[in-house]
Amino acid sequence: MSVNELFKKELKVINMGLESFYEELRSQDVETIHVDWKPAAGGDKKMASLLGRLKGL
């Protein structure tokens, strides 16, 4: 499907990341769901590394 075709349809958006993108779409009455996503360990590299070492154990 081309991008142009997509935008001719009714948009249903799943937003991940910045919540302001979700709020902006909602303000324009676009059906949107915001995924409450955060990077592992809130982006703490040390903790993410420790968790990584435990994967699969």
């Binding site: 703490d44 903790m47 420790l50 968790l51 070492r53 435990l54 699969g56 154990l57």
Partner: protein, 420 residues
């Protein structure tokens, strides 16, 4: 040893799910609690010294010393507490738990709860009711007089009634209460009612005078929190054996002493991981505010550790009138706890969640990964000794308890050559 963490956690979860907490009787602390002696004061939370204790814990220690006859005035009690002559040790180091300040002294009567599956025991005093009570740091004459009534009148009646009745299956009682609107931490109305219904005829059969029996019934009926001091040792008896499972990342203790919050993790044994206890977000009684609040205190979050209490708030919508928020908030709290737990309870089911089991088995890895902290509902003590409860609300442990534990866990595996 592939999947050894998963195997260890599976074993820990089996121990939790199969626990059979059973009330088997009562005794006096010095006779039944391991290590108890006349000059030992047990308290809630991780270890703490007198100089670091907050107001309500100091108040409860003062009351405990007066109750034991080791001091006659608050000034004398304070002097004795600071002298080094008194030993302070967490309830958790003696197979016991205590709500709020959690002070237990040698002469106090305690419930004896046995986990029939594992054969271990847990102990807890009887709940004093609301108002001016020792557990919130009050130590006036009325508090001591009430404790003496509990020792001299309530205890003999309850002890004999339990001997007449026989063991009481607390697991089934908690499961029933969870379907009647209790989460058995800050809402124990249904569980207390079920307990009274169960024990009533045995109380009538005791040798106590009719007057004393009526006084006992009136006290039980006036105290919606009476069952808290049974749900806590029930949880403790279920969680203690989890603390012996090697390599498990499951939290088996959460507790606060009013200054620090502490957790213990199965793989890391008796080691506490602590951080500053938080001020509670909640509803304050008229005339009080956060300015009056002491930081978080009490062993009662052993219920959340076991997967009930704040983790089961969805099943207790009425509790929001006590701790704040809306019934939807209660559902949201419970739902978020599935993100940091490994299983759902096979016995504690919640009607508002389509009879889904409560979130069970907090994994430190999931807490650090998701940054979602355990939800605890709790009473709020005044920061001043001798005042008592000023409200109730919701609180979380500090994140560093979990990140420190995760670091220690990785270090442990490294030292054992378990990491590649």
């Amino acid at each position: 040893m592939a999947n050894f963490i998963e195997t260890a956690n599976k074993k820990a979860l089996e121990i939790m799910q199969n626990a059979q907490p059973t009330l088997v009787g009562m005794g006096v602390a010095k006779d039944v609690v391991p290590g108890m002696h006349k000059k030992l004061i047990m308290h809630a939370g991780p270890p703490i010294t007198w100089d670091k204790m907050s107001g309500p814990l100091r108040g409860a220690v003062i009351g405990g010393l007066i109750y034991e006859g080791l001091a006659t005035t608050p000034e004398e009690a304070e002097k004795l507490a600071a002298s080094g002559e008194i030993e302070f040790d967490p309830c958790h180091h003696h197979q016991a738990v205590g709500p709020m300040a959690g002070v237990v002294t040698a002469s106090m009567p305690v419930f004896i709860v046995e986990n029939k599956t594992q054969g271990n025991f847990a102990y807890c005093t009887m709940n004093e009711g609301l108002g001016n009570v020792l557990r919130f740091g009050a130590y006036g004459d009325d508090v001591i007089k009430h404790l003496k009534w509990m020792e001299k009148t309530l205890y003999p009646v309850m002890k004999q009634a339990l001997e007449i009745y026989g063991p009481i299956d607390l697991k089934t009682m908690i499961a029933q209460a969870a379907q009647m609107g209790d989460e058995v931490h800050n809402r124990n109305k249904a569980a207390t009612s079920l307990f009274i219904r169960e024990i009533a005829s045995s109380i009538v059969k005791t040798d106590a005078s009719k007057e004393d029996q009526v006084a006992v019934f009136d006290f039980l009926n006036s105290n919606d929190h009476f069952f808290l001091n049974l749900s806590m040792p029930a949880s403790k008896s279920a969680m203690d054996p989890v603390g012996k499972v090697k390599h498990s990342t499951i939290v088996y203790t959460m507790a606060r002493n009013g200054t620090e919050f502490g957790i213990r993790v199965a793989a890391l044994g008796d080691r506490w991981f602590t951080g500053p206890a938080a001020i509670i977000d909640g509803l304050y009684f008229p005339g009080y505010s956060t300015d009056d609040a002491n930081p978080d205190i009490g062993d009662s979050c052993i219920t959340e550790t076991y997967g009930i209490g704040g983790f089961a708030m969805a099943t207790a919508p009425a509790i929001v009138q006590f701790v704040g928020g809306t019934p939807q908030d209660a559902v949201n709290y419970t739902t978020s706890m599935y993100e940091i737990t490994l299983e759902e309870s096979t016995i504690y089911k919640m009607p508002p969640m389509n009879f889904r089991g409560t979130p069970t088995g907090i994994d430190i890895r999931l807490v650090v990964e998701t940054q979602i902290l355990p939800v605890i509902n709790t009473g709020i003590a005044s920061k001043h000794a001798g005042v008592g409860q000023v409200g109730a609300g919701i609180v979380n442990p500090p994140m560093n308890c979990f990140t420190d534990a995760l670091e220690a866990y990785v270090e442990l595996l490294e030292s054992e050559g378990m990491l590649g």
